[in-house]
């Protein structure tokens, strides 16, 4: 085969012209819902319950956001997803000089319990699950949320939701950190401990590969970095004396879905298998604490400002990848997001894309439909092998904590993102 006709994924996995039985990995006799969960965390997956269609949204003021939440709830949505503005995410009041121009821009501003009261006015916190994209100030927003729940007379044992609370990827990719890694890890593991006693149904962290991918990583790097971060949190919690079988059940993940359908499906399958093994090796005995449950968002950086309607096709492929990969919840991007915040029409098409995949494509009708495919099984194995190798290398360099300190993560990223940008340009022609 000439150099010219060779094909490979962004992660550098070479794709053969044809896959046959000889490329199948040895033991494929796995069932969904049991260790190591490659085929999904539930035995019935979407036959039992479809993934949660959870669209991330935040509006300028608490009043506006509250109106939106009431509208969404009236449309039968059971989960809210709150976007906060950057001052709230980084711990500045709305009237701080550094907040100028940012207040209410990428989400809602919450400065006080009064804002929280307005944000959830007329909504019983005991009856909804609320996902909050909040990290460095996660403990403050969670405290406000719980305080509001108490004011409403809610049973704290019943309130449910998620805070993102993943500080390690903030240093690597997203940028809303306040404190150095060590004290930040202390806050996070304090949250694990407090929640396990006071709000046991709360997902205490959403360990995120999404932003690492958006910052320019490959699919393999996305899971290798994310699972390494996950391992760092687990170890920190264990050092504090917390029970892995208890806090382990409340860990959740957040991944990206890009355009290479088969590599993405392989990525999700491999990630589940790897996390189950990691948790088992760290001493978990309860299978529920070995399950990798995850939210997916379609890839913002794959959208182009040029010919924006083409993005609808991209989002559809990415939706298929998330669903065939067994996601627990999904946000689909608006086709115009490379140009501005999504218009109402774009947001509606994004949600309809999920519904078309759910109700018309047949992708949700059976569990893990691509299992046994020569190509997908071989790819799953290769993604897994590549990711283990990279994780091992990461560990050799340093444990993840000092790694974030030294910025080694960031050194690996620019080269890849440069090549992504070049590839996109070439593809666009």
């Amino acid at each position: 085969m000439s150099e010219e006709s060779k094909k490979s994924t962004d992660s550098g996995i070479e794709i053969k012209q044809v896959y046959t039985q000889q490329h199948l990995p040895g033991n494929l006799d796995e069932k969904p819902g049991v260790y190591p969960f490659s085929r999904g965390v539930q035995p019935d997956m979407y036959r039992g319950k479809l993934w949660t269609m959870r669209q991330y949204a935040g509006f300028s003021t608490a009043e506006e956001s509250n109106k939106r939440y009431h509208y969404l709830l009236s449309q039968g949505v059971s989960g809210l997803s709150v976007a906060f503005d950057l001052p709230t995410q980084i711990g500045y009041d709305s009237d701080h000089p550094l907040s100028e121009g940012e207040v209410g821009k990428v989400g809602v501003a919450v400065d006080s319990i009064e804002d929280m009261q307005i944000l959830f006015n007329g909504i019983k916190l005991e009856e909804v699950s609320t996902s909050m994209t909040i990290n460095a100030t996660g403990y403050i927003l969670l405290a406000l949320y719980v305080a509001l729940a108490k004011q409403q007379g809610a049973d704290l044992k019943k309130i449910s939701g998620t805070i993102q609370n993943d500080i390690l990827k903030e240093y690597a990719a997203r940028g809303t950190y306040i404190y150095p890694p060590k004290p930040s890890m202390r806050i996070i593991t304090d949250i694990f401990e407090w929640c396990s006693k006071e709000v046991p149904k709360w997902n205490t962290i959403s360990i995120s590969g999404y932003h690492i991918r958006e910052a320019g990583s490959t699919a393999v790097q996305e899971i290798a970095f994310t699972l390494s971060n996950g391992k760092a949190y687990v170890k920190a919690a264990q050092e504090k004396g917390l029970d892995i079988n208890v806090f382990g059940k409340r860990l959740s993940f957040f991944f990206n879905a890009h355009n290479n359908l088969f590599e993405e499906v392989a990525k999700f399958r491999a990630a589940r298998k790897m996390w189950a093994k990691i948790m088992k090796d760290l001493g978990t005995t309860d299978p529920k604490a070995m399950m990798l449950r995850f939210h997916t968002q379609t890839g913002g950086s794959t959208l182009t400002a040029q010919q924006p309607l083409n993005n609808i096709s991209r989002v559809t492929i990415q939706t298929m990848a998330a669903v065939l990969g067994g996601t627990q919840s999904l946000h689909t991007n608006g086709y115009d997001e490379a140009l501005s915040l999504p218009t109402e029409e774009a947001a509606r098409i994004a949600l309809r894309t999920q519904q078309i995949v759910a109700y018309e494509s047949g992708a949700a009708d059976t569990v893990d439909p691509l299992a046994g495919s020569y190509f997908v099984e071989a790819m799953t194995q290769e993604v897994e092998e590549y990711a283990w190798k990279l994780m091992e290398k990461l560990m050799q360099w340093a444990e993840v904590l000092p790694l974030s300190n030294k910025g080694l993560f960031k050194m690996k990223l620019p080269a890849v993102l440069m090549s992504t940008s070049v590839t996109l340009r070439t593809m666009r022609r």
Partner: protein
């Protein structure tokens, strides 16, 4: 010009999305320019002060948080105050066309959307500097 073009690439405000800024910084460097990258969370004052001290020919601001209508006017006002009115202020990010038109009116140069070919940006800066700063 007898020396390489000097460009300050800046992130202003609280926006942590720095992939675009880094791609541009790398591309401009590859195009033969001297690039200074400010890092995250800069104020307009810090950016203009750095531009002055580094004697740059152009400032490129990357902004994806929607704060562009606050940030660009502030930077251009400060640039005029400090006598940097012969320096190009350009940039890019998620900035709607109608906002770009308004910002162009107050003296901001071209603003680029995501996905712009990086050669186009380097060519623009090269051309502008040749035309306005030939000394």
């Amino acid at each position: 010009m007898s020396r390489p073009i000097r460009v300050l690439v800046a992130k202003v405000g609280l926006d942590g999305h720095d992939r675009g800024a880094k791609v541009i910084a790398t591309a401009l460097r590859d195009a033969g320019m001297e690039v200074i990258y400010t890092g995250l969370r800069q104020t307009p004052e810090m950016v203009v002060s750095a531009a002055l001290q580094e004697d740059v020919d152009a400032i490129g601001i990357s902004i994806l948080s929607g704060a562009h209508n606050t940030v660009f006017p502030k930077v251009i006002t400060l640039m005029k105050e400090k006598g940097l009115d012969d320096v190009l202020l350009t940039g890019g990010g998620i900035i709607p066309d109608e906002d770009i038109a308004e910002l162009n009116k107050i003296g901001v140069g071209k603003l680029f959307h995501p996905g712009t070919n990086t050669h186009e940006i380097a060519d623009y800066i090269n051309g502008w500097v040749k035309e306005h700063r030939s000394f």
